[in-house]
């Protein structure tokens, strides 16, 4: 059965794995592999096209675009990972507590979740940035604060399902402590589906973070974050469209990688079989 579904979606999942794999390689070794110092300015050779020295040309300050893209991979992906971790850090405890304690606490926590859920993500980040000033850190905090409610709800649902299982009920009746219960029975059940969701969420997080940087309220130049590079390249859009194409394509590929990976895994776990006529 497993083999079968693997074969049913080989292309998508494999493409996703390969894309993510390549990006991870670049993220960890990109800085050292990059042909130039990503922040080295060559003020004489500004806005140059492709050449052997500068494979993707130079930006408005004469920095090598390829090197910046490569060294920016770690920052861009790292920021998304950090955001994902922060989201889980808020969402998992709240979802768990809500489901396990129940009653008033559950009600209160879910109301708070509702309240946070109501504000649009970008505006939330904007307000946070109003506190901390525009930087990648504030973008991460803003996005995490706006994002945790949906995940908290998911954790809540998963935990409630897990709690309803017979063996969990049984061990609960045996008087096992809540912490032990969570570690031994709940987490093993909720983590796998959570990771599938997080893989899909990673795609959206990457998109949102790069949008914020593009708007000038996320990562700030000279940081070589992809969205920030796009922001910097925007004035030179008509002169050197390539400056805009390369980071945009890279973002799309990274997002697509996570989407394909998430969809692929989900497809594998999905064993519905629809009727046909």
């Amino acid at each position: 059965m497993k083999l079968l579904s693997l074969r049913a979606t080989p292309l998508g999942l494999n493409t996703g794995v390969i894309l993510i794999g390549c990006l991870l390689l670049i993220a960890f070794f990109g800085e050292s592999l990059a042909p130039h110092d990503p922040n080295k300015m060559d003020l004489i050779r500004r806005l140059e096209g492709m050449s052997w020295t500068y494979p993707l040309g130079t930006d408005h300050l004469g920095r090598d675009v390829l090197s910046r893209l490569m060294s920016g991979t770690f920052l861009s992906l790292g920021a998304a990972v950090m955001t994902a971790i922060s989201i889980l850090f808020i969402a998992v405890p709240i979802g768990l507590i809500s489901a396990m304690v129940g009653g008033v606490v559950n009600h209160l926590l879910m109301r708070i979740t509702d309240i946070f859920l109501a504000f649009p993500m970008i505006i939330f980040s904007l307000v946070i940035i109003g506190f901390l000033g525009a930087s990648l850190n504030s973008a991460i905090i803003g996005v995490a604060l706006a994002w945790w409610p949906s995940l908290a709800r998911l954790v809540y649902t998963l935990t409630t399902d897990a709690l309803a299982k017979d063996f969990v009920l049984a061990s609960r009746q045996c008087g096992i402590g809540p912490v032990k219960l969570v570690i031994r029975h709940i987490l093993p059940q909720i983590l796998p589906p959570l990771f599938v969701v997080m893989s899909l969420e990673m795609a959206s997080i990457l998109l949102v973070l790069s949008s914020l940087s593009f708007l000038g309220i996320g990562a700030q130049p000279p940081e070589a974050e992809w969205g920030a590079m796009l922001n910097e390249a925007r004035p030179f859009f008509t002169e050197r469209p390539g400056l805009l194409l390369a980071p945009g394509l890279l973002i799309s590929l990274a997002v697509m990688g996570f989407n394909l990976l998430g969809e692929g895994i989900r497809h594998k776990l999905d064993n519905r079989s629809p009727f046909r006529w």
Binding site: L4, R7, S273, F275, R276, W277
Partner: protein, 259 residues
């Protein structure tokens, strides 16, 4: 008449996609005559329901048909186009499945689900309403059920709604796939009674699938016994004596006795 049976299933073989060994259904053949009631018994998971799906040609992936013919009144169903198959379904063949709980659409009223049959049997609104009311009367269902949603009805009632559908469709071949599973003994009696009435009226040939030999004996004259996707025994109701039968048949009869 005797030479060309109403329905004939030839060498049906079903496998999982990509795995040709260990077919789920292995070279199954049988035939049914006008008005004949054929019982198909076997333990759960032996392939009875898959057979019924295969005959209706609604197998779900990863199951695929490797070979076989299903000839209804001289036409091989498996070679027909989608549109032609649709024309056969309903009036040519109909199937009452197990688990009546999920068989009816939860968000449509019983009336809506009955009346849409008009599009299949090409009747106008008033005729179909009359026909539906008649069928409900025959199935001893209260008319008020019509305006209700499936979750208001008991399991037995839902099964009788399905019988009423069959009554409207008057299929040439009716497959009843464990229609009494999950019902209590009293309801079971009602459903079987309703089915008796329905079959009498529609004069359909019936393939009755069950794991319960007691019920099969009550409904059917002829029996097929299935094990691991193969027909292991064929007999009439009267031939069903303990000693001479195949091992599977004996096991089933044994199981009955214990129960």
């Amino acid at each position: 008449m005797v030479d060309t049976p109403l329905f004939k299933l030839n060498h049906l073989t079903i496998c999982q996609q990509g795995k040709d060994q260990n077919p789920i259904i292995d070279d199954v053949s049988f035939s049914l005559n006008q008005g004949q009631r054929l019982g198909l018994i076997g333990r759960s998971g032996c392939g009875k329901s898959v057979t019924s799906h295969a005959i209706m040609d609604i197998l779900r992936p990863p199951l695929v048909r490797k070979q076989g013919q299903a000839i209804l009144q001289g036409q091989d169903l498996f070679t027909l186009s989608a549109a032609e198959k649709r024309r056969i379904r309903g009036q040519g063949m109909f199937c009452i499945f197990q688990s009546p709980g999920s068989a009816l659409h939860p968000a449509l009223t019983i009336k809506q689900q009955m009346i849409e049959i008009a599009t299949v049997i090409e009747q106008d609104q008033t005729t179909i309403i009359n026909a539906v009311e008649y069928a409900f009367d025959r199935m001893q269902l209260p008319i008020r059920c019509l305006t209700q949603y499936p979750h208001h009805l008991s399991g037995g009632m839902k099964q009788r709604v399905l019988m009423a559908m069959a009554l409207l469709l008057k299929p040439t071949l009716l497959i009843a796939d464990e229609p009494t599973t999950g019902l209590d003994v009293l309801t079971e009696q009602d459903v079987l009674k309703a089915m008796e009435i329905m079959l009498e009226e529609t004069q359909s040939a019936c393939l009755f699938i069950s794991h319960d030999i007691r019920i099969v004996k009550r409904v059917c004259n002829d029996l097929l016994v299935m094990k691991d996707g193969k027909i292991v025994d064929r007999c009439t109701r009267d031939e069903l004596t303990y000693r001479e039968r195949a091992e599977t048949t004996r096991e089933i009869i044994d199981a009955m006795k214990v129960a």
